[in-house]
Structure formats: C-alpha cells, structure tokens
Symmetry: C2
Subunit: 368 residues, 2 copies
C-alpha cells in the first residue's frame, strides 16, 4: 500500500493538542483508504527556541524537505516576547520555513458554515453564501525585502541632534507575480471562474507591475476567467459590504496578510479556517488562527481548523479529493448535529454537546 | 469682524456639487457667528489636468499656502485612467498637496448615527456606540519612499532572459513617528483616553521603530493615557469583531489607508464621514468618500460628509468648537427628522423626505 511521510510541527500553545486530533483523523482516513501516513514530529517556533536556541533548526527544515507534506499547528506566545531586538522570535520559524520550502502561494479559503452563521458580527443576509479564497503571495514583498535601522541627523528632523531611521523594502520580480497569478487563475477554474486582483496601483510601483503582469497572464493564458482589479482600501470595504460577491482574491504578501484576516473574521468562526502554503515542492498546511496560549493545556481548544488543514493536505499534497471530502463533510455533519467546542458554542448549545479537543477529534472520526 | 480665507478645491465628479453645499453652510455659520469666510476656488485633480496638464498646478499650492484653511472635495474619475504610466493622474494632486502643506496627520472619525444604524452590514448590537478616530500618518511610509522599476535577469527568475523588477520603500524617521504619536495622544485626551497603536512589529523594521517611539512618547509625555499595541492583521479583525472598543487608533500611512476605509465601511454610511489633514501650518478638510463620477452632475450626491468636513474645519483650523457643534447637531437633527439623500434612504423613507444635494444643504442651514 502507498505510504506518505508527513512532517508534523506541533509548535506552541494549543499546537500540540490540536495537531494530535489532526493526526487522529489522518490515521482514520488512511485506514479507510488503504493508505499509510507516517507522522514524524519536528521542532519549530518557541518550542524550538527553548530546545535549540533557534526558531527553525536546520534539522526541521531538512525533515520538512524530505517529507511528502508538512502539517503545522501554530507558533508563538508571550513567553518569547522580548524587548531585546536580537532575541529569536517564534514567527521567524514560520517565515523561515515559508522561504526555505519556497512556499510562494498561500490559499486561505473563507466559507460560512450554515450551522455557525450566528457567530458572525455581520448580518445573516450579508454573510449568507460567502465562499471565497484569498490567494496570498507568501515569499515576496515587504516580508522579505531589505530592511535596516540606523542613526543620523535626518532621523531627528528639525529637532536637531541624531535620531533613528528605519526602512523596509517591498520588492517584486515579474516571475513572482506571474506564478502567483497563475495559481489564482487555476484556483478560479475549479471554482466560480472569477478573480479579483488587489493592489494599490495609484501609489505603488510594485502594484503597477503587479497589475500589468496579472493582466498579461490573464490575457495570454486564462482569457475565459473574469478578472477585476480592486484597490486594497476599497477591498477592505467591499469584504464587509458584499463578501458573498468574491470568489478568488489574489494579492501581494502584506495586503494578503491583512485582507485574509479581515475575511476570516467575517465568518466569526476563526477556529474553523485552515490554510495551505504551496510552492513547487513540498507543501505546508495549518490552521489560520494562532497558538492561543491563554487556553493551552486545558483540552478545550477547537481542533477543527487543524482537521480541515488535513483535508487541504489530502487535496493539495496527495490529490486525494475524495478523502478530503470525507473529512470536510464529516466536520459539516458534526456541526449540523450540534456538536461544538467551547469557542463556537452559544446559548443554544446543550451542555452535553460542548466537547473538549480530543472528544471533538473522536467525533469527527466517528462521522467520517 | 474677523475674516478667514478658505481655499476651496472643487475637484472632480460630484466634487463641485457637494462643495457648493459646504460653502452654503459655512456662510450661514459665518453670518450667525459674525465672522466672514471668503472662499476662493483653485484647481486640483482631473479638472486641473484638463486645464493645465498638471494635477496640482503651482498656483493651487500657493493659494493653499496663503489661505487659512483648505476645503477639498474629491478627485479622480475614469476620464483620467490611463494605461500610459507617465500620464498625470488626479490622485497625484492629492498626494502632492498633502506633502506640499506638510499634512502629516490625517484624522478620520468614524461614528454611528443612530438614525442610520440600519445601513451597516454589521449587526446593530455590534455597531452600537461605535465612536473611534483613525489617526493616520499621511506623509511618510510606502507613499513617499523611493520607488523604481527596471529590467534584469533576476526579474525573470529561472525562466531565463530578462524580466521586470519593481520596488517601493517604506521609510520612517524617528521624528515622524514622534509627532504623529503626540497627535494621537492629544486626541485621546479630548476623548476616552485610550490609544491603540497598530503595527506589524513581528515583520517590519519600521514597525519596530514605530512601537518603540510610540511607547517612549507615551511614557515621557502621556503616561495617563491607556496605550495598547495591536498587529495590523489582528486590527483588521477586531474592527469587525468589537468596533465599539476602539477610541483612538494610530498607525502608519498604508495601514491607515486600509484600516480607515474598513472602519468607515463598518458604519455603512460612507457619505457621512469627513476627515481632517493637519500639519504645522495650513490644514485641509475633505469628505472620506470618493468623487463618484457615476452620479456626477445629477444633483443627487450626498453633501453631508462635505458639510461635516466644514465642521472639522471650524474646530481644527479656527478653534470654533461651538460653531462646529451647531453644524454637527444640525446634521444629526436633520437625520433624526428623517431627511435623507438617496444613498442613505431606505424602504422606510417617505418619497418626500428624499432630498437632492442642494435641498439637503438648505435643510442643514434651516436646522442650524
Ligand atoms: C506570524 C506572522 C509573521 C504571520 C504573517 O504575517 O504572515 C501571520 O500573521 C500569518 O498571517 O500567517
Ligand atoms: C487616492 C489615494 C491616493 C488616497 C490614499 O491612498 O491616501 C485615498 O485612498 C485616501 O485614502 O485618501
């Protein structure tokens, strides 16, 4: 039987608890599909800093490279917040593995689960039918450009004396825009055939390059897809005003960071959203929400986003669309039957339907 | 009697129509307060390009500098959208006057009018009591840093050959952060004594500088103000999740562009929001919404944001707080009595309460 090797990165906070449920579901899928999944843990983030001094030890990157897919949980926590600018930070592990594996495409699907529509702060008629995906460029732009800090007279302005100055560089190369545009149009082909490309063309040179290249790729390779341009500030408005109108939204790294979190919040159930980071080699899958250190170790964290990230892995890493649908449908039916973790429960949830992390994992396996 | 000289910039689209109502209200206030306001029009944006070839003719900048305050409407429209990257663009007029007058502080108040709460796509209980102000840094960051485009092998990546590359620079100097932080804390003192400073410290060097300097200014000069830090992606979420919790939100130029539009959209009535751009000399006041070329010339545009920008001018440029309150209260009572322009009318508005642009201006004057 076929064997896939997964590099699992439990990370920090609730990470180890929820990734256990992801593995549980994966094993159940494997059993039913007659496929073997082997999971091997490696260190990342704060846990890696504690053990090795580095948020991304070489051994982790090597293990990830040698695997068939990476399942990440989440990193970070107050323990590693430091005022020392040179102290290693857990997020560097995340940025490092994105760059190290060349994961230039981040897919963040945002979907309303009917059973959870009440959790949104938006009116039900506005969020009804929301089903979009943010395609975020993940290895370019302000995140990876040159940055520096120094002291000189300019930094102080007319105050005299010396002051600090800092800069970051937002850089894009034509091929970087080309390949992410292609991913967006390909995603649209499997969905509703519409792409919204987001930029700030009226100000930024990188945005003008972005818009030109996205249109060239469209005209040459995907003329049948509907393409619209939207300025980033207007997009921030329209995501609130008419979220159901969006299908695929493609944008550069920093805009994507902001807009994907905004879009996620529209659902009101962050604990349900997963993301895939893809390149031309090994891919990585993770929940969208953070490491929630405040509830770590209590067995109450919501594992569903992690479980849904397993579904994304089945689709994108192994082409197992049918098995991915088992997981997605399983989660949907668990919700439809009223099972909740604490974060997605509300006044109408009977106490005996509020499950802990592990019980929720078991429930999904039961419904598979 | 005292005389104030206003440089008025009608701009494009609905600009000339709505600025006429702003002037109307201003004259009514002057009459009642025993103050003379003289308004002199100058060219900006597309109108200036058509007349002179430049979106910000020297004469306009000189007139603005020589005035006591600038009242701007809005610029831009499809007429000046060009695929030629060297063609002058209306927004350059806006960016040029901000830089030319040194308008480094942009105040964008976001407030729910009870009478219009139904226009929001957010649930009524979530937007109830929203009353925040975004303090956006307006002359630094990605907007005014060095940018370039060129061709080289790197631009093409492994495709071989040559490709394009572009970059923009996000730069901040210590004194630039200092002065905007001070404006934010001063604003908080007149409000609910709380400042949220927004950055992306886990990635950007400019954000790390930002956070340090904001805290230094806080600790040295405003220790009594409550200060919290929030990452920009998290802020994009919390503005939807708990908008009523925010008081003053201070951030750099690009984040401020995105977040202020997001916050504006939360109200659902963009046509009601005005902004003030302040520096150490002449200040500028304008509605937050755009030039709406699609409805220009029809006499149906909503002039209330322009009228409210006049109220901001009375406060910030002339220290006429009492007279500003006349205008604000007037607008509020007009709404409470059910008067609407088309954009803020709904099914429950009787047809004879839907007013055109000029009739709405008259109505506010009547209620002053
Ligand atoms: C932790 C941080 C560096 C990261 C990012 O900004 O990309 C996170 O916000 C995300 O969106 O995955
Ligand atoms: C027109 C554009 C350059 C401008 C900006 O980005 O600052 C506008 O969006 C605004 O917010 O005033």
């Amino acid at each position: 039987s076929k064997t896939y090797r997964i590099c699992t990165l439990p990370g920090d906070g609730i990470g180890p608890e929820i990734i256990a449920e992801g593995k549980k579901v994966l094993q159940a899928v494997g059993k039913r599909a007659g496929v073997t999944f082997t999971c091997t843990d490696a260190l990342i983030g704060g846990a890696a800093i504690d053990a090795t001094g580095s948020p991304l030890p070489d051994a982790t990157l090597e293990a990830a490279r040698a695997s068939d897919a990476v399942l990440l949980s989440s990193v970070g926590g107050p323990k590693w917040d430091s005022t020392d600018p040179n102290a290693p930070r857990p997020e560097q592990g995340l940025l490092g593995i994105r760059k190290g594996l060349g994961l230039y495409t981040n897919l963040r699907p945002v979907k309303i689960y009917d059973a959870l529509a009440g959790a949104s702060t938006l009116r039900p008629e506005v969020i009804k039918g929301v089903d979009l995906v943010i395609v975020r460029e993940l290895t370019g732009g302000l995140y990876f450009g040159k940055r520096e800090r120094f002291y000189d007279e300019e930094g102080a302005g007319s105050n005299g004396g010396r002051g600090q100055r800092a800069y970051d560089t937002c850089e894009y190369r034509e091929y970087e825009v080309e390949r992410i545009a292609r991913k967006a149009f390909q995603a649209a082909r499997k969905r509703r055939n519409k792409v919204t490309s987001v930029d700030k063309r009226n100000v930024l040179e990188t945005s003008r390059l972005w818009r030109e290249v996205v249109h060239r790729v469209h005209d040459e390779e995907f003329p049948e897809i509907e393409l619209e341009d939207l300025l980033v500030d207007n997009t921030a408005m329209q995501l609130i005003n008419r979220p159901a109108d969006f299908d695929v939204v493609v944008t550069e790294n920093m805009f994507g960071d902001i807009l994907s979190d905004e879009a996620a919040q529209i659902t009101g159930s962050l604990g349900m959203l997963a993301s895939a980071s893809l390149g031309d080699g090994v891919s990585l899958f993770e929940p969208s929400a953070g490491s929630a250190p405040d509830i770590a170790g209590q067995g109450i964290a919501n594992p569903l986003a992690q479980i849904l990230s397993v579904a994304m892995m089945l689709t994108y890493a192994f082409g197992m669309d049918e098995q991915a649908a088992w997981v997605q449908d399983g989660v949907e039916r668990v919700l439809d039957d009223g099972w909740r973790t604490r974060d997605i429960a509300d006044g109408s949830t009977p106490a005996d339907h509020v499950l802990g992390t592990s019980a929720m994992g078991d429930k999904v396996v039961e419904y598979l």
